[in-house]
């Protein structure tokens, strides 16, 4: 499965050990182990900031990342050990991005997401197409519920097959993504 644009930027730094470590830390935090707070904070903050920088304009990225971070820690005691901690946190960050976009839309101050950094290996036409697709995918993803965003980012971040419940949830999330895409862009 192709990774989502923001996940593609963030996942490489969080593969393997760090991802598992974050999960362990979130489990400890959910259990009330305050000693896990600082390392969890140190792991989460750069990822959330990177994610926010990919989802919203640079001027808003810091605020969105901070709001997401506070929400993640506020809900840490609800964290379910079965879930991937990074996908869970990014789902919350995606929700914050969506909230900001909606607020901006309401105020008619909506802005275009920042462009992907140029890849010297691609030709200009491919770059423009990829950039448009990324922006469109992020915009559509932002209209979904946090649980759907979390499911899709979790599936995009890992190639291994998961349980039947997860696959069912993913199937529903993708169906909703398709509907949202069609509603916005027709059948393209």
């Amino acid at each position: 499965m192709r990774r989502l644009p923001a996940e593609r930027e963030i996942a490489p730094g969080v593969e393997g050990g760090e991802r598992a470590e974050l999960r362990r830390l979130m489990v400890r935090l959910a259990d009330g182990d305050r000693a896990a707070f600082r390392p969890a904070f140190a792991l989460l903050w750069p990822r959330l900031r990177a994610f926010a920088a990919r989802c919203v304009a640079a001027a808003d990225a810091e605020d969105v990342a901070q709001a997401a971070l506070l929400r993640v820690f506020s809900r840490a005691s609800e964290y379910d050990a079965e879930r991937d901690a990074l996908a869970w946190a990014l789902g919350i960050a995606a929700w914050e991005c969506r909230t900001l976009r909606r607020t901006r839309q309401r105020r008619r101050e909506d802005h275009v997401a920042p462009p992907d950094p140029p890849d010297p290996g691609e030709n200009p036409e491919e770059m423009v197409i990829a950039r448009d697709l990324s922006a469109a995918a992020e915009a559509v993803l932002g209209t979904l519920r946090p649980i759907d965003i979390e499911t899709i980012t979790a599936a995009a971040g890992s190639r291994k097959l998961r349980g039947a419940t997860f696959r069912k949830r993913l199937s529903r999330a993708l169906a909703r993504l398709r509907i949202a895409w069609r509603a916005r862009h027709g059948s393209r």
């Binding site: 259990d31 707070f37 904070f41 903050w45 820690f73 506020s74 840490a76 005691s77 609800e78």
Partner: protein
């Protein structure tokens, strides 16, 4: 502060958000405690004593859940276990058993002992299944004892002591067998 280094103020805010989130989650237990106290009052338990026990139970449950760890995980099993000694004597009074003076002890006390035994079995089985440690057992016992006391005061101090004895008599063999 170097670029990219986390802001200490942000860390402090995140820590505060974490603590408030834990407190909010712990306060979700309050309706269960209030429901138990409400049931005891509806079944005729004296208001001052029930309120005192309910406040103690609320503080203990919320405090343990907020602190977390083994004792924090014991709160729900403790409340569940305590439901048996809470319900047994109250049901007995509700279905028409006269509960005043010495007549109360004739069925109220056995009901407390039986309910306590059931609570002991529930705590012991949960402890064995989770391979839990001593703080878990103590936390569950304290919560179950206070929950059960809301109902077992119907038989006076003897009812509460009988319930505690029932917890030990019912739970110890199950726990010992599971640990063997």
């Amino acid at each position: 502060m170097a670029a990219g280094e986390p802001d200490p103020r942000l860390e402090a805010r995140a820590r505060r958000a974490y603590e408030l989130g834990r407190l909010r989650a712990a306060l979700r237990l309050a309706p269960l405690v209030l429901a138990a106290a409400g049931a005891a009052i509806v079944c005729g338990r004296p208001l001052p004593m029930t309120c005192a026990l309910a406040v103690a139970l609320l503080l203990l449950s919320v405090g343990l859940a907020y602190a977390g760890g083994s004792a924090g995980r014991a709160v729900y099993p403790g409340l569940l276990a305590g439901a048996a000694p809470l319900a047994a004597p109250l049901l007995m009074a509700t279905v028409g058993h006269a509960c005043f003076g010495p007549a109360c002890a004739s069925l109220g006390l056995p009901a407390c002992i039986l309910g306590g035994s059931l609570a002991g079995v529930v705590i012991a089985r949960t402890t064995a299944r989770r391979d839990a440690d001593l703080p878990f057992v103590l936390g569950a016992l304290a919560v179950a004892a206070l929950t059960g006391a809301l109902g077992c005061t119907i038989a006076g101090a003897a009812g509460v002591l009988g319930m505690l004895a029932g917890v030990v008599v019912g739970g110890a063999p199950v726990l010992a067998a599971a640990r063997r």
